[in-house]
Amino acid sequence: MTEVKLQKIAFYIVLTFGVILTVGPFYWMIVGATNPSGETLSIPPNFIPGGHLIENIQSLLSQIDIWQALFNSAFITIVYTVLGGVISAAAGFAFAKYQFKGKELIFGIFLLSMMVPYQALVIPQFELFASFSLLDTYAAIILPQLAYPFAIFLMRQNMQSIPDSLIEASRVDGAGELYIFFRIALPTMIPAIAAVSIFLFTHQWNNFLWPLIALISEDMYTLPVALATIAGQRSIDYGVLMTGAAISILPIFIIFLFLQRYFISGIIGGSVKE
């Protein structure tokens, strides 16, 4: 009996240790963001959050307009998520619930393209947007991955669970195909759509390589690009840097805490079914 008890205690100790290692860096970010740089970087360091946040925000703003970056990130991400959600839901519904010529071929090509790393697309995309003079715009960040094959794939997997009888019955009642998609498929698929939308949301919120390439002027920067710019300076003010990190993490964190379940299944790609 005691052996079982020891085992339980050991489990809890290992897991708690793991949680400390996982959450610790966030705590340190808060400590850094609320103290002057010198206090976090001293020996021994100050372990307690301080009252220097406002000053850190002010010096952050003197380096880069972080509120503008926050707005850019929010605008790009929200538009991307809504449009991407509808586009992939429509495509997923078509693949899941219709028989048509070329279905296997088109779906196969979507799947195959998931194997190609993003790096292989970046240069022609840059030339494409440059030739349309669309670099350094919101459209340049929103458009390229709107038709995201993985999201389409997830939507299709989920849409297959819509009962055919439901669609059939609506048809008998005289419902048009558009009505069936918007009024029957979408409402019954809200959990799946939420998960896929969260996948798209985090993907875009944290997107870095392409915005780094396609955004040129500072007032177009998204949060990750702004953050990397501060981190790339010769002498880093860590208080300022941690404040920037906190501002970029906080919004997605709050959403995560409210929508954990959707979030986890969305980011993992729907492989978690509870």
């Binding site: 022609p124 840059f126 195909e177 981190a231």
Partner: protein, 316 residues
Amino acid sequence: MSYPSEETNWETETEEKGSSPDPGGRPVKRTWFTVKTAPYVLLLPAVLLFLIFTAYPIIASFWLSFQTTEAGERVFVGLNNYVRLFQDPIFYQALGNTLLLLVLQVPIMIFLAVILAVLMNSAFLKMKGFFRVAFFTPAVTSLVAASVIFLLLLNPDYGLINYLLTTVGLEPVGWLNNPFWAKVSLVLVMLWRWTGYNMIILLAGLQNISNDLYEAARIDGAGKVRQFFSITIPQLRPVILFAAIISTIGTLQLFDEPYTLTGGGPVNATTTITMYLYENGFEYFDFEYASAIAYVVVVIIAILSFLQFRLGGERK
């Protein structure tokens, strides 16, 4: 994959109804939106966007990798870019760095994730929801933000980690300044960012293992350790394989962390393939050479995914 629910037979019976005019006799506004045309209409936005922003770039960069710019004109040069690539010491260094990070990081991470998942799956564990959320938090953090936090933690002179090392009597480490430790720093960030993510994937796999298997093993007198090695690991194999493949692909594309944390330094010790691609493409504007680098990544990912499938899936 086959989905029996897909075998539908409503198509033919509803076909005429959709294309016929409405009972009122006047042509319906959307006669083109029938059972026959609906899937194409629904797919149209996705397919168009995909053709322009994914399919075209994939082909264009392949074509680009056989060209070069001479006096402002693009000319076909055959395999020149690839030949140059295989004589480029920095490319080899970037390739070596990337593969080293892959070999260091992925097995450690999968190992840790399996352990955590098994602990999380134990029946008596309370506060599962709390642990799950806590371990998952790094996965919602952007890679840039994660790297930025570690920039502070790993500061060689005043960072918390070196402070903790010295308080337990160890030597401080020149994390970001030393070619070896800079790689370790990257591995640490990646472990922090991704272990919980993989743990959740593996946990889902564990939950799918039937309890009957463990029951039978217990009756046969197999101990916990034996059960772990003869039931858990073999049953979890496909999920471990999946986690290993996505981690491999992710590591081969590593960019955000080294760009933010080390800038590729010291002296290219943490330059990854993607960083080298970025440098060539967007600092030297040699798009053709960068495209060749991209296609080497494509080939490496294809080979490694194939190998992992062969090795990991052989007993399936």
